[in-house]
C-alpha cells in the first residue's frame, strides 16, 4: 500500500459544497414555480374550505353550513342523485369501452386506426354536445322519440346516456393502455397448460387489466360525478351536485352553501384520485420489464363479432356528431327543414356572438403557450434540481393535486380567493388572465406527467456531460433536452389547446361579459331555447379542435421522421 501521503499544507478554504450557477438558476426557478403553484392551487382551495365554515357575514360558525345542507332534503337529495347517475354511467361506459378496447387491442379486425379516431369524437366538443344531440334524437320533437317508450329523455336517462358518450374516450384510453400492456408469454403459458378461452379470460386477461379497470372506474366516476354540461342541458328537474352548485352560487349568490356543495364534490374526487394512483402503480408493477407484447392471431368469429360491435359504437358516435351537425344547418327544427347558415349568425343571439368564439380561440392559444412553457419548465426543474427536497416535494404534491380537483370546484375556489377584496391579485378577476390560469391549473396534472415521462426518458447524464464540457445548463437545455422532448411539448400544447376550447366547468364561474367563451355561449343559447345555434357553436368548436389535432398529427409525423434520423436506420 502506498497511500500514506501527507496532506498538503494549505488548509481547505471551503467547508461545504459550492452551488454552481446552473443549480442556482434551477433553484430560483423551482422557488418561483412552487410559489406560483401555491398561489394558484393551494390558496384558492384553502379559501373555499374556510368559506364553508363561515356565514355570509364572515363569522366562523363551524359545521353549521353542513348541518343545514343535510337537513334540507332538496339539497342533499342531489348527493344521492349524483352518486346514482355517476355509478350507472361509470358501469355502462366501462363495459362499452372495455369491449371496444378489447376489439382494438386483442383482435385482428380490420379498420382499427379508423375506429381509434372515431372513438375520440366526444373529446372534440364540450360535454353539452352529446346532450344536445340526445335532445334532437329523443327530445319532445326528437326523431327517435318512440324508442324511449314513453319515458322522458329529460332526467336521469338523458344524463346517463350523455355522460356515457362523453366519458367513453377517457375510459377507453385507460383501458387500452392496460389491455396492450399484458404479457404475451402468459397467454402462451395458458395455452400450453391447456386452458380454454374462458378460463384464460378469467385467469389471465381479467387479472391483467384489473388495475386498469379500477383506475378507469375511478377516473370516469369523478368525471361523471362532477360534470355540469350534460346535466344542465338534459337534466330537466333532476337535481345533481354540479347543477346544484351552479344554482347556489350564480342563482342564489349563496357562496357559503356553494362551498359546502363544492366540498361534497371535492371529497369523492380526492378519494378516487388516491385509488387511481394506487391502481396505476400496481399496474406498472405487474407488467415486468421483460414482458413480450401480445399480438393477436386471426380468429374469424371473434374478429367479425368485434368488427360488428365496434362499427355499431362507432356509428352511434358518428350519429351523435352528425345529428348535431345536421341540426345546426336546419333553418327551424322541425318545421322548416331547409338547410341554411341561419344558426351560425351568433351575433343575432344571446351569449356573446362570434366574439365569444374569438375569445375562446385567444384563451386556448394563451393557455397552450403559457401553460406548456410553465408546465414543461417546472417538470424539468423538478427533475433536474439537486437538493432542496422540501421545495421539490411541494412542487410534486401540487402538480398532482389538480387532478383531484373537479373543474367547478376549482372555479368556485378561484372566486373565493381572487374575488376577495383584500387580495392584491383581485384585479385578475373577471379578466382573461384568470380564465387562462384556471384552465392551465385544471389540466395541469396530465400535462405534467407527460412532460415528466419525456424528461425521464432522456439520458440523465446529458446535463453532467454539458457541465464537464463547461457549457451552462440553459444552453444544454435549449440545444439538447428541449429538442429531444419536442414531441411531448407538442402533445402538451395540443392537449391544453383543445381542452381550453371545450372546457366549461372551471370557467363557468369566472367569465365576465367581456370574456364570454364559445362553450359558455353554447350554454347560454341552449338555456335561452336556441338549441340549434348552440349546436352550431359546437360545430365551430369541433372544427377548431379537429384542425388543431390535425395540425398536431402533421407536425408529429414530420418530427418523428427527424427523430428516426437521430435514432438511425
Amino acid at each position: 500500500m502506498d497511500t500514506l501521503y501527507k496532506r498538503p499544507l494549505r488548509a481547505p478554504f471551503r467547508a461545504g459544497p459550492v452551488t454552481s450557477g446552473d443549480q442556482l438558476l434551477l433553484r430560483g426557478l423551482a422557488l418561483l414555480s412552487a410559489l406560483l403553484l401555491v398561489v394558484t392551487i393551494l390558496f384558492p382551495l384553502y379559501s373555499m374550505l374556510a368559506k364553508s365554515f363561515h356565514d355570509a357575514s364572515g363569522l366562523f360558525i363551524g359545521l353549521e353550513n353542513f348541518q343545514r345542507y343535510f337537513s334540507e332534503a332538496s339539497l342533499y337529495r342531489a348527493v344521492s342523485n349524483s352518486f346514482v347517475i355517476a355509478g350507472m354511467a361509470t358501469l355502462i361506459s366501462l363495459l362499452l369501452a372495455f369491449l371496444y378496447g378489447y376489439g382494438l387491442t386483442r383482435t385482428c379486425m380490420p379498420f382499427k386506426p379508423l375506429f381509434r379516431v372515431v372513438s375520440l369524437i366526444p373529446l372534440l366538443a364540450p360535454s353539452l354536445l352529446p346532450a344536445i344531440s340526445l335532445v334532437y334524437f329523443f327530445g319532445n320533437q326528437g326523431v327517435a322519440k318512440e324508442l324511449l317508450m314513453g319515458h322522458s329523455i329529460y332526467g336521469p336517462i338523458g344524463i346517463v346516456l350523455g355522460l356515457v358518450i362523453w366519458v367513453f374516450p377517457s375510459a377507453l384510453m385507460i383501458l387500452m393502455t392496460s389491455l396492450s400492456m399484458t404479457d404475451a408469454r402468459l397467454y402462451e403459458a395458458a395455452s400450453v397448460l391447456k386452458a380454454g378461452p374462458i378460463r384464460t379470460f378469467f385467469t389471465v386477461t381479467l387479472p391483467g387489466v384489473k388495475y386498469g379497470l379500477i383506475s378507469a372506474a375511478f377516473v370516469v366516476f369523478t368525471l361523471t360525478l362532477t360534470d355540469f354540461g350534460v346535466a344542465k342541458v338534459i337534466g330537466g328537474q333532476y337535481n345533481v351536485l354540479a347543477t346544484d352548485l351552479f344554482k347556489q352560487v350564480i342563482g342564489q349568490q349563496n357562496f357559503q352553501m356553494g362551498a359546502v356543495v363544492g366540498l361534497m364534490l371535492l371529497l369523492p374526487a380526492i378519494l378516487a384520485f388516491f385509488v387511481d394512483r394506487y391502481a396505476r402503480r400496481k399496474q406498472v408493477a405487474i407488467t415486468g420489464a421483460r414482458a413480450v407484447p401480445y399480438s393477436p392471431k386471426p380468429h374469424a368469429l371473434r374478429d367479425r363479432f368485434f368488427l360488428l360491435y365496434c362499427s355499431l359504437i362507432g356509428c352511434l358516435l358518428i350519429a351523435m356528431l352528425g345529428m348535431a351537425a345536421y341540426a345546426s344547418f336546419v333553418t327551424f327544427w322541425p318545421y322548416d327543414q331547409t338547410l341554411s347558415l341561419k344558426n351560425y349568425q351568433f351575433d343575432m343571439m344571446d351569449g356573446g356572438g362570434w366574439a365569444a368564439f374569438y375569445n375562446s380561440l385567444q384563451m386556448a392559444l394563451l393557455t397552450a403557450v403559457f401553460g406548456t412553457l410553465f408546465i414543461f419548465l417546472t417538470a424539468y426543474v423538478s427533475e433536474r434540481c439537486h437538493g432542496w427536497r422540501p421545495v421539490l416535494n411541494l412542487i410534486g404534491g401540487l402538480t398532482l393535486l389538480p387532478m383531484a380537483v373537479p373543474g367547478m370546484v376549482l372555479g368556485l375556489a378561484y372566486i373565493f380567493f381572487f374575488n376577495a377584496p383584500d387580495n392584491p391579485l383581485n384585479g385578475f378577476y373577471g379578466g382573461m388572465t384568470i380564465m387562462v390560469i384556471s384552465t392551465i391549473v385544471h389540466y395541469y396534472t396530465v400535462s405534467h406527467l407527460t412532460a415528466v415521462t419525456a424528461i425521464k426518458q432522456m439520458d440523465p447524464e446529458i446535463e453532467a456531460v454539458g457541465a464537464s464540457l463547461k457549457v451552462p445548463q440553459y444552453r444544454t437545455f435549449c440545444r439538447v433536452s428541449l429538442p429531444l422532448c419536442l414531441p411531448a411539448v407538442l402533445d402538451i400544447s395540443t392537449y391544453l389547446f383543445s381542452t381550453a376550447m371545450t372546457t366549461i366547468s372551471a370557467v363557468i364561474f369566472l367569465y365576465s361579459p367581456d370574456t364570454f367563451l364559445a362553450s359558455i355561449a353554447m350554454l347560454h343559447m341552449e338555456g335561452a331555447g336556441d338549441i340549434a345555434p348552440s349546436a352550431a357553436m359546437a360545430m365551430v368548436i369541433v372544427l377548431t379542435s379537429t384542425s388543431v389535432r390535425l395540425l398536431h398529427w402533421l407536425l408529429t409525423r414530420r418530427l418523428s421522421a427527424r427523430l428516426q434520423r437521430w435514432k438511425g436506420a
Binding site: 500500500m1 502506498d2 497511500t3 501521503y5 496532506r7 498538503p8 494549505r10 481547505p12 478554504f13 471551503r14 467547508a15 461545504g16 459544497p17 459550492v18 452551488t19 454552481s20 450557477g21 446552473d22 443549480q23 439520458d459 447524464e461 446529458i462 453532467a464 456531460v465 454539458g466 457541465a467 464537464s468 464540457l469 463547461k470 457549457v471 451552462p472 444552453r475 440545444r479 439538447v480 429538442p483 429531444l484 434520423r565 437521430w566 435514432k567 438511425g568 436506420a569
Partner: protein, 388 residues
C-alpha cells in the same frame, strides 16, 4: 504542479514527446507530487456508507483503474472526483488546488459515461464541438480540431453522421473524442466498455490504452471487469464495501494479493483452510505443506491460497511434502490449458490449470489418479479475517 503534458492533438510529435516517456507505467514510482489526491473521502446515504474513508494519490499521466464488484463504491468515488455527487466529508486536491466542494463545471476533467450520453439530436461533429464552441474558438479551428480528434479515435470523416447511425463501439469513440476536445487534464471513464460486444471491447481496450499513452493524460477508469483493469491500467485500485483493499500494478495485485477478497476477485484461486504446524509448514486436510515464502502470517490458522497455474503435474515419487496424490473429478478444455478439478479424500478439492503441452499423449479421464505438486514459492497464507 502543472501537468507537463501537452494535449495538442495535432502535433505530430505526440508519440515521441518527452512527457510520454515520464508518464505511464513508471510514473507512480517517481517522487513528484501526485496530480490528484483523495483524502479520507466518506460518502453516506443515511446510515449506509458508500465510501468509508478512501485515500489515494494518482500521479500525472497515470492510467488508474477502480476495480470492484457492483456496489463497492467505485462509481461513487469517480462521481465525487468529478463533482457530480458531493462527498459527505473528506477532501480532493487536483494539481495542488483544493477542489473538494467545487461543482463539476468549475473542475478540470472530461468524462465518458457507460451510456456514452451522446446528444442524439446533434451530429458527431456538433457533439465533439460542444465544449469548444463555448470557449469562443473560431469556426474553422473547431472544424480542424474535430477532424483531428476523429482521426485520433479512428473515425475519420464521420462528422456529418448522427450518433444513432453509429455502432456502439463507434459511439464510444465519439464520446471519447468529445471528452477530450477541450483538452482536459484528467479523463474519467465510467465503465466505458461494458455496453459493448466482447470482440469490440478487446479491440477498443487496446485503442484507448494507446491513445491515453500517446496523449499522456491522467486517466481514471471504473470497471468491474478484472481483465479490462489488468490489461489497461498502470495501477489498479481494488475496492470492496466502500474501502480500498489494495493499490498496485496489475502484476502486484495478481501475484501478491493482500487479502482473500483481492485474491478471489482478481483471477481464480484455490482457498484451503489450514492450521499451522511447525516452522514454514501448515496442515491442510491432514496433509502437510511447506510454504517458506507465504508472507507474514503464521498465526493460529486461516486460509492457504494458491493459483491453479501454480499446481503442476509431477511423476516424481520422492517424499517432497508438497506433492500429493489426487484423483481427477472433472476436466474443462480451455485451449492452452486444461482446467482440472482434483480431489483427495472427502476434504480436499483443488483446481489446477495444466498446460496442454504437459498433457500431450496422455488422456485425462474422470477418476484417473494423478500426482501434483503445489509450488511452495507461490503459496500465500491469510489469517481468518482474510488478510495477510
Amino acid at each position: 504542479m502543472s501537468q507537463a503534458h501537452s494535449l495538442d492533438l495535432f502535433s505530430d510529435q505526440l508519440s515521441e514527446g518527452p512527457a510520454v516517456d515520464g508518464g505511464a507505467a513508471q510514473m507512480h514510482r517517481t517522487p513528484s507530487p501526485p496530480y490528484l489526491q483523495v483524502f479520507d473521502l466518506v460518502k453516506k446515504y443515511g446510515t449506509f456508507s458508500a465510501l468509508d474513508g478512501v485515500s489515494l494519490a494518482i500521479a500525472a499521466g497515470e492510467f488508474i483503474s477502480f476495480l470492484g464488484p457492483s456496489g463497492c463504491g467505485k462509481t461513487t468515488l469517480l462521481r465525487a472526483i468529478a463533482g457530480l455527487d458531493f462527498q459527505t466529508s473528506g477532501s480532493l486536491y487536483q494539481d495542488g488546488a483544493d477542489i473538494s466542494w467545487l461543482p463539476p463545471d468549475q473542475r478540470d476533467f472530461g468524462i465518458v459515461f457507460q451510456s456514452y450520453a451522446l446528444f442524439p439530436n446533434l451530429t458527431v461533429a456538433e457533439n465533439i464541438a460542444y465544449g469548444l464552441e463555448n470557449q469562443g474558438t473560431k469556426k474553422h479551428q473547431i472544424a480542424e480540431r474535430v477532424a483531428g480528434l476523429l482521426n485520433n479515435v479512428g473515425l475519420p470523416g464521420a462528422e456529418k453522421r448522427f450518433p444513432g447511425q453509429l455502432s456502439g463501439g463507434q459511439q464510444q469513440r465519439v464520446a471519447l473524442a468529445r471528452a477530450l476536445a477541450p483538452s482536459p487534464n484528467l479523463l474519467l471513464l465510467d465503465e466505458p466498455l461494458s455496453a459493448l460486444d466482447a470482440r469490440v471491447r478487446v479491440h477498443l481496450r487496446r485503442e484507448i490504452k494507446a491513445l491515453q499513452h500517446r496523449l499522456g493524460i491522467t486517466t481514471i477508469m471504473v470497471t468491474h471487469d478484472q481483465e479490462e483493469a489488468m490489461t489497461m491500467a498502470d495501477r489498479i485500485v481494488v475496492m470492496n464495501q466502500g474501502r480500498i483493499e489494495q493499490i498496485g500494478t496489475p502484476r502486484e495485485i495478481y501475484e501478491n494479493p493482500v487479502s482473500v477478497f483481492v485474491a478471489q476477485f482478481v483471477g481464480t484461486i484455490n482457498l484451503l483452510p489450514f492450521t499451522p504446524c511447525g516452522p514454514d509448514t501448515v496442515e491442510v486436510a491432514g496433509l502437510k505443506f511447506r510454504c517458506p515464502h507465504s508472507g507474514r502470517h503464521k498465526g493460529t490458522g486461516g486460509v492457504l491460497a494458491i493459483r491453479p497455474e501454480d499446481i503442476e503435474c509431477t511423476d516424481v515419487h520422492d517424499h517432497d511434502a508438497n506433492c500429493i496424490d489426487v484423483r481427477v473429478e472433472s476436466s474443462e478444455f480451455l485451449g492452452a490449458t486444461m482446467r482440472l478439478k482434483l480431489v483427495q479424500g472427502p476434504d480436499l478439492a483443488l483446481i489446477a490449470d495444466v498446460p496442454i503441452r504437459a498433457l500431450r499423449g496422455s488422456d485425462i479421464r474422470p477418476g484417473q489418479a494423478m500426482r501434483v505438486r503445489l509450488d511452495a514459492e507461490r503459496i500465500r497464507l491469510f489469517d481468518e479475517a482474510g488478510n495477510c
